[in-house]
C-alpha cells in the first residue's frame, strides 16, 4: 500500500522506508515517523473504538494527549496494550492492533451500545441492575466486567528488563521546546549542572511542528544549532524519550526514559529506565495542549486537533486529508490554515465563530466568520460537515482548535491549584508551586514564540543567580509574537445530537448537564459521576471543555467551578518500570550462611527465613518423606550428637563501662550482675509490655557483652537499642555494633557434644565444672583460630555453640563433621531444631507473635518489678494480667495416631465453634520422635491451671477436630538435668 497522503518536506528520512503492520495489514512509513503519522500517510482513518459506545474513532492528536488512537503494540509476551500511536516511533517490523471491539474493527458488534446510549447516560450503573436481587452478581456484573477495559495483557511474564537510576543536577528542565532549549543554553553557558528532558525523541517541541524564524534562521535550524552547543557542554545532560512524569518533595522529580522502545529488539538491555532526579531548581517548560470544541457528532475519524494537522504536515510530511476544513475560536487555527496552504494542502474553509474580519488573508480558502460546525456525517470516516449558517461542506478532515491549555500538571503535583487566565482562556500555574520550581513558556501562559523564548532566557538566568553562579552575557534568541487572540467559545449548544467532551470515555455535554441536574456540581463529583477525564489521556484534551460546559449549566464562571487535582504521572508509566530490577529471584537480597556451600553439597533442602536461606533438613538416601529426615536428625542428636548452623541469629557486640546497666534497662529480667564468663537468657519487651524478642547474652568482659537476638528481629532490636542509647540514656557509656555477619556459629548438641568439641577447641577444660552450663569464653579452635565458646542449649540436651570468624565457617563445619564421625554426628536443619525446641517448650516467633505478654508465656517472673526496664510498667495493665488471659501450654493428642495443626483453636468437648466458645489456639506443632506422637504448644484461657484436661483442637479450615490433653509446655526433660549434665 503506497503512502497516498505523503507530501513533500518534513523531518522524516524518506531514504529509510520502514515496514510495519496494523491489524495485520502491511504498510510502509519512514524513519522519523510515529505510528500515527505513518497510519495517516497510508490513509488509515479508522484506528479504534471508544470505551463505552464503541464509536468508530480516528487519530485525534499528535502527542501524548491522544485519547483515540490506542493500539496493542507488538505481540506475544511483548504485547503492550493501550499504546498511543501518536508517540510510538516507527521501527522495522512493528506490529500493532486496534482495541476494544468484538469482531473486526470495522464491524464491532458491541457498537449496539451506541444505540442504547439514551439508557446508558451518566451514572446509569448506580440506578439499575438491581432487579431481581440475585441477578446483579450472576448476570449483570459479569456482563459489565466482560466489556470493561480497552487493550489486554498477554498474561505472560513481561520478558523485558527495567532499570532505575539516580541523577543529580542544579537545574532540571522539563521540556525541550523553545523556552526549554533557551533556558538550557543560558544555564549551561553559566556553568550550572543541567538536565534537560523531553518526552519526544527529538528536541524542539513546536519548532518541529510549525514553521518559525528564530534569530534569523529557521526554527528547525536553530534547534539543531542549540542541540550541537548543548551536546558540547560537559555540564549539560540531554535526555530525549524521557518524560518527567511527577514532581515530589524537596526537588525530587520522577522521569521515565524509554531506552529501547523504539527498537525492534531490546538487545537484552533495559527497555526503560526510571530516573529519580534530585534537583536544586527545576523549570517546567512543558508547552501547551490544544483542545477541541463540543459540537454535535464531533468524534468522527477525520476530526482532529488543528495544531496536530499542522504538525503532521510540517514535521512528518503527511496531509491529514485531501479536503480540510478548519474550525477555530482562536488565531492559531488561522496560522494552521496558512501553513497547510503553503504546503499545497487543500484547505476548503476556515470556520470561526468570531464576528470579526478574517484573521488572515488566505487566497482560495473560504473564510466563514460568525459560524460554527453543528453536525457532521460519515460513520467510519468524516465526509461532510454542516455549519450553523446552513452551509454544507464536503471534507474528509476537520481541524478543530478550541484554544490551548498550558501544561500545568507538574506545577500542581503537590496539590497546588492553577489560576484562570481570561486572556488565553486557560489555567496557568498558581502561586503555590513546588519548592524550587519555576515555569516558562506556554505552560506559563506565554503563548507566543517570542514571549516563550524570552521567559525561558530570563527565568534561567534568575535561577543561575540563585545558584550563586553568574549568568552568561548572551542575549535571548529573537522570535516574533504571533497572534493568539481567542474567544471563549466552548460548546455549539442547542442541537439534539451528542457533542463529545471526553472522547475516550464517551462523556458528552448531555452527561455533564445531567450530572449537574442530579446535584453532582462540584468538579470532583462531575469527574466521578461522569468519569470525565479519567481515561488513559487523563483528560488532557477534555477537562477544560467539561468545566466550561458545567460552568455554563450552573451559571458560574470557570474559575468559580474550579479544577480537579492534578496527580502524577503526567502520562502513564509502565508498572514494570516502577518495579525496576527487583523481580523474581532478585526481589530481595539473599543471605547465605557460612556453611551454605557445605550444606548444599550434602543435598540439604533450604527454606527462606527472612532473607536468609537456611538448611531445613538433610535428606539421606532411604528417606521416604521429609519427616524421615527430620525424625532421624532429632533422634541422632538426642541419642548422640548433632550440629546446626545458627549463624543467622542476630549478634550484637555491646561494649562500654555502662554496658551492664544499659542491658538492665533493655531486658525485663536483671542483667546488672551477670558474672564475666557467664551467659544469661534475656526477655525483651516493647514499651507496651508485649514480649518481642528473647535470646542469650554472654558477658565476655566487664565492659563487653555479646547479645544474640532472634533471626527475624535482629535489625529491629538493634534499632531499638540505638534509640535507647541515643535518645533515652544518652550519657551511658555504651556502644553497639552488629556482628551477625562477622561470626560463623554452630550449635553442637547431644550427649556426645562435649566429646566432639574437645577435639576442636584448643586447651579448654571442658569438664562440667571447668565449663558449666551457661558458661562462655574466648577460645581458639583447631590450633589457633580465634573463636568463642558458649554452653547454651536450645534443644534441651548437653549443648554448646562455637563461633569463628565467618571466613572460617566452611572449614569449621567440615572439621566438626570429621571430629564427630566416630559418634555418627548428624547435621540438623531448622525442622529438627523446631521439633526439639517444641519438645523442650522453648518459645519462638510463633508464640512471641507481638501480641503476647510475659504473663501469657508464663514468664511473668522474668519481668522485674525492682527496676525500671523497657515495657515493665505497661506490662502490668489490668486486662493483660487478668485471670482469664490465655497462657502457654503444651498439648498432646489423646490418640497417638492423631496429628495436630498450628492455627487450630481450642474448644471444650461439646462446644460449637463460635467466637464465644473460643478458648485459645495452637501455635506450634510437630511429630515428636521422643514421645512418638504429635505434640504442640498453644495458648489456652487459664491454661496454666488446666494441665491434664482433655479438650478439642478444632481446625475448621483444614477440616480436622482432634482431642488433645493439656500438659505443661516443658515436655522434654522438665527438670533440665540433661543440659546441665
Amino acid at each position: 500500500m503506497k503512502q497516498a497522503y505523503r507530501i513533500n518536506g518534513g523531518l522524516v528520512n524518506k531514504s529509510k522506508p520502514i515496514k510495519f503492520t496494523f491489524n495485520n495489514k502491511q504498510m510502509t512509513g519512514y524513519e522519523g515517523d510515529t505510528l500515527a503519522s505513518a497510519l495517516l500517510a497510508n490513509g488509515q482513518r479508522l484506528v479504534g473504538r471508544s470505551f463505552k459506545y464503541h464509536r468508530p474513532r480516528g487519530i485525534f492528536s499528535s502527542g501524548s494527549e491522544e485519547p483515540n488512537a490506542l493500539v496493542q503494540l507488538r505481540s506475544g509476551a511483548h504485547q503492550e496494550p493501550n499504546t498511543r500511536a501518536t508517540v510510538v516511533e516507527l521501527f522495522d517490523g512493528l506490529t500493532s492492533e486496534s482495541q476494544n471491539h468484538r469482531g473486526s474493527l470495522d464491524f464491532d458488534i458491541m457498537s449496539v451500545t451506541d444505540l442504547l446510549s439514551p439508557f446508558l447516560g451518566a451514572g446509569f450503573y448506580y440506578k439499575t441492575f438491581m432487579w431481581p436481587k440475585a441477578f446483579w452478581e450472576k448476570i449483570y456484573e459479569p456482563i459489565i466486567r466482560s466489556s470493561a477495559g480497552l487493550g489486554s495483557l498477554s498474561k505472560l511474564e513481561d520478558p523485558d528488563k527495567y532499570d532505575k537510576g539516580f541523577l543529580h543536577c542544579d537545574l532540571l528542565i522539563a521540556g525541550a521546546g523553545p523556552s526549554g532549549l533557551t533556558a538550557a543554553l543560558a544555564a549551561g553557558r553559566a556553568g550550572a549542572r543541567v538536565i534537560i528532558a523531553d518526552e519526544d525523541f527529538l528536541l524542539g517541541g513546536r519548532l518541529l511542528e510549525e514553521e518559525h524564524t528564530v534569530s534569523g534562521i529557521s526554527g528547525q535550524d536553530w534547534v539543531q544549532k542549540s542541540k550541537d552547543e548543548l551536546d558540547a557542554m560537559p555540564n549539560v545532560r540531554i535526555l530525549t524519550r524521557t518524560t518527567v512524569y511527577g514532581s515530589y518533595d524537596h526537588g525530587i522529580y520522577g522521569a521515565l526514559e524509554r531506552k529501547t522502545d523504539h527498537l525492534a529488539d531490546s538487545g537484552n538491555k533495559p527497555r526503560q529506565v526510571l530516573w529519580r532526579i534530585y534537583s536544586k531548581r527545576a523549570m517546567i517548560c512543558g508547552g501547551a495542549t490544544e483542545r477541541s470544541i463540543a459540537f454535535p457528532n464531533n468524534d468522527r475519524p477525520g476530526i482532529m486537533l488543528a495544531g496536530s494537522v499542522r504538525a503532521y504536515a510540517t514535521r512528518y510530511g503527511v496531509a491529514a486529508g485531501t479536503n480540510i476544513a478548519i474550525f477555530t475560536n482562536n488565531d492559531s487555527g488561522w496560522q494552521t490554515a496558512v501553513e497547510l496552504v503553503s504546503k499545497g494542502i487543500n484547505v476548503t474553509a476556515v470556520i470561526d465563530p468570531r464576528d470579526t474580519a478574517p484573521r488572515a488573508h488566505i487566497p482560495g480558502v473560504a473564510m466563514i466568520m460568525g459560524a460554527s460546525v453543528c453536525d457532521t456525517q460519515g460513520r467510519k470516516a468524516l465526509n461532510r460537515i454542516t455549519l450553523t449558517n446552513g452551509q454544507v461542506l464536503n471534507v474528509d478532515c476537520l481541524a478543530v482548535s478550541g484554544g490551548w491549555s498550558p501544561n500545568v500538571h507538574l506545577t500542581c503535583h503537590q496539590r497546588g491549584r492553577p489560576i484562570w487566565n481570561d486572556e488565553i482562556a486557560g489555567f496557568v500555574p498558581g502561586g503555590n508551586l513546588p519548592v524550587g520550581q519555576s515555569i516558562a513558556g506556554a505552560s506559563n501562559g506565554e503563548m507566543t514564540l517570542g514571549a516563550a523564548i524570552k521567559s525561558g532566557h530570563k527565568t534561567a538566568n534568575a535561577i543561575v543567580k540563585e545558584l550563586g553562579l553568574s549568568p552568561s552575557r548572551s542575549q535571548a534568541p529573537k522570535a516574533e509574537d504571533e497572534g493568539f487572540a481567542i474567544m471563549q467559545y466552548w460548546h455549539v449548544a442547542g442541537y439534539k445530537q451528542r457533542a463529545w467532551i471526553d472522547l475516550q470515555n464517551d462523556v458528552t455535554s448531555k452527561d455533564v448537564k445531567q450530572s449537574q441536574a442530579e446535584g453532582f456540581k462540584s468538579v470532583e463529583h462531575l469527574k466521578r459521576y461522569t468519569t470525565l477525564g479519567m481515561a488513559t489521556d487523563q483528560g488532557k484534551t477534555s477537562n477544560i471543555l467539561g468545566l466550561a460546559v458545567m460552568a455554563e449549566a450552573t451559571g458560574k464562571t470557570i474559575p468559580e467551578t474550579g479544577t480537579t487535582i492534578f496527580r502524577p504521572p503526567y502520562s502513564p508509566v509502565a508498572i514494570g518500570a516502577f518495579g525496576g530490577r527487583e523481580r523474581g529471584q532478585h526481589f530481595h537480597p539473599t543471605r547465605l550462611t557460612p556453611s551454605h556451600n557445605w550444606a548444599d553439597e550434602q543435598g540439604a533442602e533450604f527454606v527462606e527465613v527472612g532473607n536468609w536461606m537456611r538448611a531445613q533438613w538433610f535428606p539421606k538416601s532411604g528417606d521416604k518423606t521429609w519427616r524421615d529426615s527430620v525424625d532421624r536428625e532429632v533422634t541422632k542428636t538426642r541419642k548422640s550428637v548433632g550440629v546446626c548452623d545458627v549463624s543467622t541469629l542476630g549478634k550484637i557486640d555491646i561494649k562500654g563501662k555502662d554496658a551492664a546497666e544499659f542491658l538492665n534497662k533493655i531486658y525485663s529480667n536483671p542483667f546488672a550482675k551477670v558474672p564475666v564468663g557467664r551467659v544469661r537468657y534475656g526477655l525483651m519487651l516493647r514499651e507496651d509490655g508485649i514480649c518481642y524478642d528473647d535470646g542469650t547474652t554472654a558477658r565476655l568482659a566487664e565492659d563487653h557483652f555479646v547479645m544474640t537476638t532472634t533471626t527475624a528481629n535482629a535489625v529491629l532490636v538493634y534499632r531499638n537499642m540505638e534509640f535507647a542509647r541515643q535518645c533515652l540514656f544518652p550519657d551511658l557509656d555504651v556502644h553497639l555494633i552488629s556482628t551477625t555477619d562477622q561470626w560463623a556459629q554452630f550449635a553442637i548438641a547431644g550427649p556426645k557434644s562435649r566429646d566432639v568439641l574437645s577435639k576442636i577447641i584448643d586447651k579448654v577444660d571442658m569438664s562440667n565444672d571447668g565449663f558449666p552450663f551457661m558458661a562462655c569464653s574466648d577460645v581458639t579452635v583447631c590450633g589457633g583460630t580465634p573463636g568463642r565458646l558458649f554452653r547454651i542449649s536450645f534443644s534441651g540436651e548437653l549443648a554448646y555453640e562455637v563461633a569463628v570468624p565467618a571466613r572460617y565457617g566452611d572449614a569449621l563445619i567440615r572439621e566438626i563433621m570429621a571430629a564427630g564421625e566416630e559418634f555418627d554426628i548428624t547435621p540438623y536443619g531448622t525442622e529438627a531444631l523446631g521439633v526439639m525446641r517444641i519438645e523442650k517448650g522453648h518459645v519462638t516467633g510463633a508464640e512471641l507473635n507481638g501480641q503476647m505478654t510475659a504473663f501469657n508465656v508464663n514468664m511473668n517472673n522474668m519481668v522485674s518489678i525492682k527496676k525500671d526496664s523497657i515495657g515493665s510498667v505497661l506490662s502490668r495493665r489490668e486486662v493483660m494480667v487478668a485471670d482469664n488471659q490465655v497462657r502457654l501450654v503444651g498439648v498432646k493428642t489423646v490418640e497417638k495416631t492423631d496429628s495436630l495443626s498450628s492455627g487450630a483453636h481450642f474448644l471444650a468437648k461439646n462446644d460449637k465453634p463460635t467466637t464465644a466458645n473460643d478458648q485459645g489456639w495452637i501455635t506450634s506443632v510437630c511429630y515428636s520422635p521422643h514421645f512418638e506422637q504429635h505434640i504442640g504448644l498453644g495458648f489456652l484461657e487459664r491454661g496454666h491451671e488446666r494441665h491434664g484436661e482433655i479438650i478439642r483442637a478444632w481446625d475448621g479450615v483444614r477440616g480436622t477436630d482432634v482431642l488433645v490433653e493439656i500438659v505443661s509446655s516443658h515436655m522434654y526433660d522438665p527438670e533440665g538435668g540433661l543440659q546441665r549434665g
Binding site: 513481561d158 527487583e582 527454606v607
Partner: protein
C-alpha cells in the same frame, strides 16, 4: 425519586431531562437532635442507619467540602471480613453482611462485587497464622478457606510460580469478599439519608464546639452556630484536628497511604490478591483498571500525596508476584490521610464530654467498615450503649491494656 427499570426507560425515551437532584441542598437549622460532623462514608452511613433503623429524627450531616471528598472516594474499594481478633472479626462480618444487602437497602447500586480475596502465604508460619485467622472467621459465621499451592495455581495461573524469591505456600481465601464502587457508596447513603429527612449540608466546616460546664451543646461552623443534643464526630484523617477543638488528645496519628490505578484492561485478575512477602495488593475494577496499593509512606502527613520510594516498593512487589503486569501502565497515583490508631483498630465510643461522640481510628480499613461503622455508631448515638459487635472499640482500651493489635507490632501507627 425511586430508581426502577421503568424509570430509566422513561428517562431514556424522554432525553433524560427529568432527573432530579439526588439530595437536597438545605440551609442548616438553628438546632438538631443529632449533628454528624463529617460527610464521608461513615458519617453518611451513620445518618442513614440512625434515621432508618433507629428512627432518629432531626438529623444533620455537616461536611467541610463536598460529600464523599475524603477517604471514601480515595481508597482501593476492598470489602472483606478476614480479621483474626475477637475485638474485630464479628464487627467486620456484620459489615460484610450489610454490604451484601446494600443495593436493596439503599435502592442504589454500589456495585458490590463478591469476587473473593486471596491472602498469599509464603512460609509455614504465615500459613499457620492464616489458618488461625481463618478459623476465627469461621467461628464468627464468616466464610474462609485455606488453599494449598496447587489450588492457588489453578485459580491464578498468572502468579509467579517458577521464579519466586518467596515461594507461595498457601493462601487464605474469603469468597464473599470483594470490591464495591467507592463513590457510589457515599452517594447511595447520602441519597437514602436525604430521603429519610436528613439534612446534608456541604461546604459547612466545623470550627469549634459549643461547650458549657463540660457538656457539648453544639458546634460553631462556617455557616454559624448550630445546636445539637448529640454531636457525633466522624472525620477520619482530621480526627485529631477536630477533637483538639474539644480539648482532647487522641491515640491517633495521621499518615499518608498511597494507592494506584492502571489504565483500563480487559478482565485479567479474578478477585483481590494480597502478596504476603511484599507490600502489594491488587484487584481489577469494573472499568478494567488494576487498583493496587501497599504500605503507608511511614511519616505523619496531612498532604494527601506520597513519595516515590513507596510507589517503587509496591510495584516491585507486584512485579515479583505477578510478573505479567509489567506492561500495564500506572495511570494515577494518589494519597489519602489515614487516621492511624495506636493498635491499628478503630474507636466507636462516647468521649469524656457529655453529648460528644467519637468515631475514628480506621487506619486504612475504613471503607469495608462503612456499613457496620455507621450502624454501630447510630446504635451508640440512639441508645448510649455500645453495639455488641463494637464493644471493644473503646477509647480507654490502652489504659486497660485491651489492645486490638491484629499485626502485633505495638503502639507504632506507621507499622500497622
Amino acid at each position: 425519586m425511586r430508581y426502577s427499570a421503568f424509570g430509566i426507560l422513561k428517562q431514556g425515551l424522554t432525553g433524560n431531562k427529568g432527573w432530579k437532584p439526588v439530595w437536597r441542598e438545605p440551609e442548616p437549622k438553628k438546632s438538631y437532635d443529632y449533628i454528624i460532623v463529617g460527610g464521608g462514608g461513615h458519617g453518611l452511613a451513620t445518618a442513614h442507619y440512625l434515621a432508618k433503623v433507629y428512627g432518629g429524627k432531626n438529623i444533620a450531616v455537616l461536611e467541610k467540602g463536598w460529600i464523599g471528598s475524603g477517604n471514601i472516594g480515595r481508597n482501593t474499594t476492598i470489602v472483606r471480613s478476614n480479621y483474626g481478633l475477637e475485638g474485630n472479626q464479628p464487627f467486620y462480618e456484620m459489615s460484610l453482611k450489610l454490604w451484601e444487602g446494600l443495593e436493596q437497602d439503599l435502592n442504589y447500586n454500589a456495585m458490590m462485587s463478591q469476587r473473593g480475596i486471596l491472602n498469599l502465604a509464603h512460609s509455614d508460619g504465615q500459613r499457620d497464622a492464616y489458618a488461625k485467622r481463618g478459623n476465627a472467621m469461621l467461628m464468627s459465621g464468616a466464610d474462609a478457606e485455606l488453599l494449598d499451592r496447587a489450588a492457588i495455581q489453578k485459580m491464578c495461573p498468572f502468579l509467579n510460580f517458577d521464579n519466586e524469591r518467596f515461594p507461595i505456600k498457601a493462601g487464605l481465601l474469603q469468597r464473599r469478599a470483594g470490591t464495591a464502587r467507592h463513590d457510589a457508596v457515599a452517594w447511595g447513603y447520602a441519597r437514602s439519608a436525604d430521603l429519610h429527612g436528613v439534612d446534608i449540608i456541604q461546604n459547612c466546616e466545623v470550627t469549634g464546639f459549643q461547650m458549657k460546664n463540660g457538656k457539648c451543646l453544639g458546634v460553631q461552623t462556617s455557616k454559624g452556630m448550630i445546636k445539637a443534643k448529640k454531636t457525633a464526630v466522624c472525620v477520619a484523617g482530621a480526627s485529631s484536628r477536630v477533637m483538639e477543638k474539644a480539648g482532647m488528645r487522641l491515640p491517633i496519628e495521621s499518615h499518608v497511604l498511597q494507592a494506584f490505578v492502571s489504565e483500563g484492561l480487559k478482565p485479567t485478575i479474578p478477585g483481590v490478591i494480597t502478596y504476603g512477602a511484599g507490600h502489594f495488593y491488587v484487584s481489577q475494577s469494573d472499568k478494567g483498571g488494576l487498583v493496587f496499593g501497599g504500605d503507608l509512606d511511614g511519616y505523619n502527613s496531612y498532604a494527601q500525596r506520597g513519595n516515590l520510594p513507596v510507589v517503587e516498593d509496591v510495584c516491585s512487589g507486584g512485579m515479583s508476584i505477578m510478573p505479567m503486569i509489567g506492561r500495564a501502565r500506572l495511570l494515577r497515583m494518589w494519597g489519602g490521610v489515614m487516621d492511624m490508631s495506636m493498635d491499628g483498630s478503630p474507636f466507636i465510643d462516647k468521649t469524656g464530654i457529655e453529648g460528644l461522640y467519637f468515631n475514628g481510628g480506621w487506619c486504612y480499613g475504613g471503607f469495608k467498615a462503612t456499613p457496620a461503622s455507621g450502624y454501630c455508631y447510630a446504635h451508640l448515638l440512639a441508645t448510649d450503649t455500645s453495639h455488641e459487635n463494637a464493644s471493644q472499640m473503646r477509647l480507654d482500651r490502652f489504659i486497660r491494656g485491651n489492645m486490638i493489635d491484629e499485626k502485633g507490632v505495638g503502639a507504632q501507627p506507621n507499622l500497622h
